[in-house]
């Protein structure tokens, strides 16, 4: 469309005008526009070729993951680089990494919902989906990292003929509960939030299979007042329920380390530090994914630059928190006077794993400092690169915590150096295959933007919408609620 190439400045809604609230949906979209844009992606009979390329790639990586897991299960944990003293390596690093990523979704949907951050609506569905898929990836690792996968169900408190309970003192068990609860609630939250949108797709569906499939998925949603009333109450309740979980799940994950006695693990700062890190990495991942998605599916008017900028600000804040945690750890290591603790941190910074430590610091502390500058916050390419670096840094953070602490603990006789094998690496790479396979399927088959919620923050949804200052006059619509192209141009101008 020639109009867009003519002038794209309207897409920048990051200017703060004290008089008027900046619009969250640009281009003068109506409700119908939103519906058409979002459903259009799902309904378009022609899948974009690029989607096939990515999907093929992801599927291959998923195959790699499957092959690596099969190899692992048939051969033994020894195919990984683990050893004594480093009994946990990439598997646990990956687990914490994915769980951390899985933080953004529920945070955006639940906490920002409770805090009435309306800008969340454009990205929350997307982030929630990412959460679910990240948690799915995370869940694989603790399951396959045990020596005897075939009895991993013993970790659950299932009544059994042995009359054995699991050990409730073990943080690993708390992990099982925390992660499974989080996964369940996140899934419910995501799915429940999607029901009105699924119903919209159902209503627009023409093919009988689509009608049936989306019909089943939308659970008989008729958009009645009573439905909306119950939906919103339930949504609020789930948000309230999910909010503590966002904080608890990574706190509990951090207990795996904090409750142990290993210097570098045994520290009370871990719960807040891990949560901050998780939000940090979660937002980084959302940014990493959303930038190409909005470009490919041309969603710049719904997922606006302001959204991205807001996320950059959150990354700046959480990145600073993480940086504070790093320095606090160092301070405490010195201030406590504990020789083991002191050594562990000196060793992190200057020992054999110093390279990993400095990758972590550069990516997590130095890179986000760019976001002090608005120019950088609103530069999409830079933002994208920075978010990827932050993801890398956050992976290394977990690597530093897990591996460097274990590799040199109390007895110098048992110090070691851990290196991953190709299986470690390919399993991790393969987990991205799983993640992107699920993600691409969702992009193609599900409403990636919460239509109902986006509409809720559009000026049209409010009485006295003129008060918002973003009203541009009556827009003629056709009977589908769509703005004719001609009219749209007028709005833009």
């Amino acid at each position: 469309m020639s109009i867009r190439t003519a002038d794209l400045s309207y897409l920048n809604n990051t200017t703060d005008d004290p008089v008027s609230r900046p619009p969250l949906v640009l281009g003068g979209r109506t409700f119908g526009d939103v519906t058409n844009t979002v459903c259009g992606i799902v309904e378009n009979p022609r899948t974009p070729p690029l989607w096939y390329v990515f999907f093929g790639l992801s599927l291959s990586l998923l195959g790699v993951l499957g092959a690596m897991i099969a190899y692992l299960i048939f051969t033994g944990i020894g195919v990984w680089g683990l050893q004594s003293p480093v009994g946990w390596g990439w598997a646990i690093v990956n687990f914490v990494f994915w769980v951390g990523i899985g933080h953004a979704g529920t945070l955006i949907s639940a906490i920002l919902f409770l805090l009435r951050q309306k800008w969340r609506t454009s990205i929350n569905r997307f982030a929630e989906a990412m959460t679910i898929f990240a948690v799915a990836c995370a869940g694989i690792f603790p399951a396959i990292h045990v020596g005897r996968v075939w009895v991993v169900y013993w970790l659950f408190p299932i009544p059994n003929q042995m009359s054995m309970w699991p050990n409730f003192r073990s943080p690993l068990l708390w992990d099982v509960f925390a992660v499974s609860t989080y996964a369940t609630v996140s899934l419910l939250f995501w799915y429940m939030g999607m029901i009105p949108d699924l119903a919209t797709i159902r209503d627009r569906a023409k093919h009988p299979i689509r009608k049936i499939a989306y019909g089943i998925l939308s659970l008989g949603w008729r958009s009645s007042n009573r439905h909306w009333h119950r939906f919103e109450s339930a949504y609020l309740l789930l948000a309230a329920l999910a909010t503590p979980l966002v904080l608890s799940v990574h706190s509990v994950v951090s207990f795996d380390f904090a409750v142990s006695i290993i210097p570098g693990w045994h520290t009370t700062i871990f719960p807040p530090y891990f949560v901050a890190g998780a939000i940090f990495s979660g937002f980084a991942m959302v940014v990493t994914l959303i930038i190409p998605t909005r470009a490919i599916f041309k969603l710049e008017e719904i997922i606006t630059l302001r959204h991205l900028e807001n996320m950059a600000k959150i990354m700046l804040a959480t990145g600073m928190m993480v940086g504070l945690a790093y320095s606090t750890e160092f301070f405490m290591a010195w201030y406590s006077g504990n020789a083991y603790e002191g050594f562990t941190f000196l060793n992190r910074g200057f020992g054999p794993y110093a390279w990993a430590y400095w990758i972590m610091v550069s990516c997590n502390v130095i890179v986000p400092q760019l976001f002090w500058v608005k120019k950088f916050r609103t530069n999409v390419v830079l933002l994208w690169i920075a978010s990827i670096l932050i993801n890398v840094g956050m992976w290394f953070e977990r690597f530093v915590i897990v591996v460097s602490s274990l590799s040199r603990d109390f007895l110098p006789s048992s110090w070691g150096y851990y290196s991953p094998t190709f299986v470690d690496v390919l399993t991790f790479v393969g987990s991205f295959g799983l993640f992107f396979t699920l993600f691409l399927l969702f992009l193609r088959l599900g409403p990636m933007i919460g239509m109902a919620e986006v509409k809720g923050v559009m000026p049209e949804a409010h009485h006295g919408r003129a008060a918002h200052g973003d009203y541009h006059g009556d827009v003629p619509t056709d009977h589908d609620g769509q703005i004719p192209v001609k009219a749209k141009r007028e709005v833009v101008q």
């Binding site: 004594s84 003293p85 020596g147 005897r148 013993w154 943080p171």
Partner: protein
């Protein structure tokens, strides 16, 4: 084999369907001379035939005192009266190593020998066994052992029977043995001696040669110089207050090392205020050097000069009266040419020896020339040590020509038939003799051997030898005690012993039992008992009580000492090595010995105590030597000497003398078996008749390649941060002080550790019955590694192989932590020498165990008697426990390490201990099976468990008796007493884990009041509680 033939009619004939379809298996079978060679692949009927074999051993078994000496194989149809299925039996037997018999007691489980332990009655064992000899069990079940008689004709191997050999040997030996030579290892066995005599009288024209790569011939030669007779030195270290070991690693490399270790450590009991002092001068770093109170590193060729310095000081400074006959040798002694440190050391040693006249022992190692031994004899006598701390016996050595004479005879075409009884001369003979080439000159050659090794492969005949645990035999201990060996099982692979083969050769074809029995009868050992009674009790005890040789006192031989004096000049003239002309020293390998145990996985994987190297040998050198020679740790270098070259990786450790490079013998085997082939490089290729123990000036050139040694501990070469922290921690982990400081303030060790008050997170358990505890005396531990192999054998600990050791996945339940200690202020790049401390580390069975708390499935739990137990079948393998273990003693089964074991190897397993599957964590259990066994017995007998009744495998075999075990709830027990000892401390007590293994601090006993490295207890706040800790 001919290919398929097509007949004229066009029909194909085939021998089997396999042949018709030409399966790869069939092709393979055709290529092999011996189809079905795999004993393991015998059809299912093998279970029955196995039981038959078992039946035979049962028939042997009987009550130890009244054995049924039947030789026939009979079906095990009726249970013998004394045998209870599932209850182990114990038999006394022996193994001959380096010409000296070592008594042991072997546990037999339903007819399968599963564990070798020392014989407490035996003077050279005293209940302990070395790491090497404990691994005999594994060797017996080695699937690579030779299984049949083989004749090699025209370049092809043919399977033969013993009967066929019998026929052949008749014609080979002829009527009078002209042109017949026998090559055997030196042996103390009276039966061997008898059979040799029988052979020589039947074949008077034959000649007898002896060869072993590791012998005490130099000592015998030195004795011959001093006394005119090759007497044997029997040290009595329990009598010695001052021990001077000159290149003598008597704690490890001595036929009686177990007894010497016991005597040495018994003389180091600080609480009884009897603490001997050990002076060591050695070229490399050895376990004995690690125990030294004063150690000086000198090149092997310079040790003589050092002893000369001691002698000179004794004469000149202390005016010791020397025997007249020895004057000629004493006059040679001088301190000239000694370096400053060496000279001071010599003077100090002399002063200490004089201060402890008649309580000292000067010991010279087997690598030193004869004249050194002669001089030591003279000095010992002058100091009055002879007859007290040093005694001599006449072991009645039988004269025999050596391998050089044999090679000469072979090359002179004087030998048509060569019988090689045991040994592996093609591999280990001095390189300059070119034995293999000479061997080819003999028309017939026969090799009796446990494996089809390097020698067997080039001989015409190979005969499978019966393993020591499958044979009747006898031998004499170092002090001469008559020792008997009996079979634990019928030969698994149709083997026979040396004495049986000799008997076959002379046409008697007597069984081993008959030979040994008749030798026993002829020796007049019965005393007042009837011969049968004496035989039975000797078999029961494994030795003849009171048969030790009496100490002899002989006058000096002036002539011999004159020879020694004449040789002395050349000895002390050897210049100190330098970078351009280093010294290469050959050392006896503490694991595979002379190479015969190369195929033994337990030993290959055993970390050598000082270097923690497994699965390899290396070129050991000190840091400064490496620096000056331009080498780095891990460089692969080519060592060239005597026209041969081998590639060795460099291993740098503090301690060796400057430019003295050590290499272990016994590696680089080519026909050892699947385990031992190609492990390391063979230093025998550099060894010559002239240079048996050291070579001056080998060429060492870097190949430019690197080689990673599989060590179980990181090298001392480490980054600065790690080095500094380790230096800080070692003092806490291994507490150490001088004897003087300890006597002054026995509480000194408790001041070394201060921490805030410890509060337990949960309610602590109260124990009503027993609660077990262990104490490890670091003052006694010599780092001999015996406990590791004992544990491996007892607890079915798998061997994981070099690659997995490189991955840091070794499985040993008990390990030996080795730390180097350097004086404060010595930087990482200035170290050349260091003190060594060992710390055996096993699961310390924490009372407040961090592992138990974190296991999500409760697979590791506390027992009612305080043990931290592993429930294998509950374990899912999260490895969380191992992560949270501050001692890192938990071992994870990363793979199924038992998957590829041969059926025969599986027979070694201890049925009392679960064989762990893949994915399961394991660790030391304090030998819970032994605890339970005693608990059941005492329960049946309705009595409490007595102190000392339970001994874990490690404690049982410890020659130093450094490991104590017992009931902490019993105030009278040995272990409770040890907890009260001020030397007792808990490691990492500040973590409030309350370990059940305590360590006893180590003491050093430097001469005078010099305390070079002992800065006293570190600074600490005195309001904090002391580090005493009891579980």
């Amino acid at each position: 084999m001919s290919p398929l033939k097509k007949t004229e009619s066009g029909h194909k004939y085939w021998r089997s369907l396999d042949e018709l379809v030409r399966t790869p298996e069939f092709e393979e079978a055709v290529k092999r001379e011996f189809p079905d060679d795999e004993w393991d692949r015998l059809p299912p009927a093998s279970r029955r035939s196995f039981l038959k074999v078992m039946g035979a051993s049962m028939a042997f078994a009987g009550l130890t005192g009244c054995r049924w000496p039947a030789e026939e194989i009979v079906p095990f149809a009726h249970r013998s009266a004394d045998r209870v299925p599932g209850v182990p039996q114990y038999f006394a037997t022996a193994i001959e190593m380096a010409g000296c018999a070592l008594g042991m007691v072997v546990t037999s489980f339903d007819g399968r020998p599963i564990k070798a332990e020392g014989n407490p009655e035996h003077p050279d064992s005293l209940g302990a066994l070395t790491a090497t000899t404990q691994a005999l069990i594994l060797e017996m079940y080695d699937p690579d052992r030779s299984r049949r008689t083989v004749q090699r004709q025209g370049g092809q191997d043919f399977s033969r029977t013993w009967a066929q050999f019998e026929t052949a040997v008749g014609s080979m030996l002829g009527t009078d043995g002209a042109g017949v030579a026998v090559l055997a290892a030196p042996s103390s066995s009276p039966s061997r001696k008898k059979m040799r005599q029988a052979f020589e009288s039947r074949f008077p024209e034959s000649s007898w040669f002896e060869w072993a790569p590791i012998t005490d011939q130099s000592e015998a030669a030195g004795m011959a110089m001093a006394f005119g007779a090759p007497l044997r030195v029997v040290p009595k270290l329990d009598q010695a207050r001052v021990i001077v070991a000159l290149d003598a690693d008597f704690l490890n490399d001595h036929p009686a090392s177990l007894r010497l270790t016991r005597e040495f450590t018994a003389g180091r009991k600080p609480d009884a205020e009897t603490m001997n002092r050990l002076w060591v001068a050695e070229p490399g770093m050895t376990g004995t050097g690690a125990m030294a109170d004063h150690r000086v590193a000198v090149a092997l060729g310079r040790v003589a000069a050092l002893l000369g310095g001691v002698g000179a000081s004794l004469v000149n400074d202390h005016h010791i009266e020397m025997p007249e006959a020895a004057r000629v040798l004493i006059e040679q002694c001088s301190a000239d040419g000694l370096g400053e440190t060496e000279a001071a050391w010599a003077v100090q040693v002399a002063a200490d020896l004089v201060a402890h006249r008649a309580d000292g022992a000067l010991m010279v190692g087997r690598r030193q020339p004869a004249a050194m031994h002669a001089l030591a004899v003279v000095l010992n006598q002058a100091l009055g040590n002879e007859g007290r701390s040093v005694t001599y016996v006449d072991a009645g050595a039988q004269a025999a020509e050596g391998i050089a004479d044999l090679v000469e005879a072979l090359n002179g075409d004087q030998v048509q038939t060569l019988l090689i009884l045991g040994g592996n001369p093609v591999y280990d003979a001095p390189a300059d003799l070119n034995f293999q080439q000479a061997l080819a000159k003999a028309e017939h050659s026969v090799h009796l051997s446990l494996y089809r090794d390097e020698t067997s492969q080039v001989c015409e005949w190979h005969l499978p030898e019966a393993h020591a645990l499958e044979s009747w035999g006898d031998g004499r201990a170092w002090d001469g005690t008559w020792t008997l060996a009996q079979p634990l099982i019928a030969p698994l692979f149709d083997g026979h012993t040396t004495i049986e083969v000799l008997s076959l050769a002379v046409g008697e074809k007597a069984a081993g039992y008959d030979i040994v029995r008749s030798t026993f009868g002829d020796a007049g050992l019965a005393g007042s008992k009837s011969l049968d009674d004496a035989w039975r009790s000797a078999l029961h005890d494994g030795l003849v009580q009171g048969s030790a040789l009496n100490a002899v006192q002989q006058p000096f031989s002036g002539e011999g000492l004159a020879t020694a004096a004449a040789a002395w000049k050349a000895l002390v003239a050897r210049p100190a090595p330098n970078a351009g002309r280093p010294e290469l020293v050959f050392a006896v390998d503490p694991k595979v010995f002379d190479g015969r145990f190369a195929n033994n996985g337990w030993l290959q994987e055993l970390p050598e105590a000082l270097t923690t190297i497994t699965w390899d040998n290396a070129l050991l050198m000190s840091p400064m030597t490496a620096r000056d020679m331009g080498l780095k740790d891990g460089d692969l270098v080519q060592v060239e000497a005597s026209g041969a070259a081998i590639d060795l990786p460099v291993y740098v450790l503090p301690g060796p003398a400057s430019f003295s490079l050590t290499v272990w013998l016994g590696y680089g085997r080519e026909a050892a078996g699947k385990v031992g082939n190609g492990v390391g490089a063979s230093a025998y290729r550099l060894r010559t008749t002239e240079n048996l123990w050291s070579i001056d000036g080998p060429t060492v050139t870097s190949t430019g390649r690197r080689y990673q040694l599989a060590t179980t501990q990181d090298h001392w070469a480490i980054d600065l941060i790690g080095f500094e922290s380790r230096q800080l921690r070692v003092g806490q982990l291994i507490r150490e002080a001088s004897l003087d400081r300890y006597l002054e303030d026995p509480e000194t060790f408790r001041h070394m550790d201060h921490h805030p008050p410890l509060v337990s997170l949960w309610k602590e358990k109260v124990y009503e019955g027993e609660q077990w505890g262990m104490a490890i005396d670091l003052n006694a531990c010599t780092g001999c590694n015996a406990c590791i192999v004992a544990c491996q054998a007892e607890n079915n600990v798998p061997v994981v192989g070099r690659e997995q050791v490189l991955n840091q996945r070794e499985m040993h339940w008990i390990r030996l932590d080795r730390y180097f200690k350097t004086p404060e202020g010595v930087g990482l790049d200035q170290i050349d020498d260091a003190q060594v401390a060992f710390q055996p580390m096993t699961c310390v069975q924490c009372e407040m165990a961090p592992c138990e708390q974190v296991c999500p499935v409760a697979a590791t739990q506390h027992t009612e008697d305080g043990l931290n137990a592993m429930v294998y079948n509950r374990c899912v393998g999260t490895r969380y426990c191992a992560n949270n273990c501050p001692f890192k003693v938990r071992r994870f089964n990363f793979f199924n390490y038992h998957k590829d074991l041969a059926e025969v190897s599986k027979m070694q397993f201890n049925p009392e201990v679960t064989v762990r599957s893949r994915g399961v964590m394991e660790k030391c259990s304090f030998c819970i099976q032994r605890i339970q066994q005693v608990r059941i017995t005492s329960g049946n007998e309705n009595r409490p468990i007595t102190d000392g009744e339970i001994t874990p495998a490690c404690a049982q075999t410890c020659p130093a008796q450094a490991i104590h075990f017992g009931n902490l709830n019993d105030p009278e027990s040995d272990i409770s007493a040890s907890r009260e000892n001020p030397r007792s401390y808990a490691t990492l007590a500040e973590l409030n884990i309350k370990p059940r293994v305590h360590y006893m601090a180590r003491l050093r006993n430097p001469a005078g009041h010099s305390e070079p490295d002992d800065g006293g207890p570190p600074e600490h706040g005195h309001d904090a509680p002391h580090g005493k800790e009891s579980a």
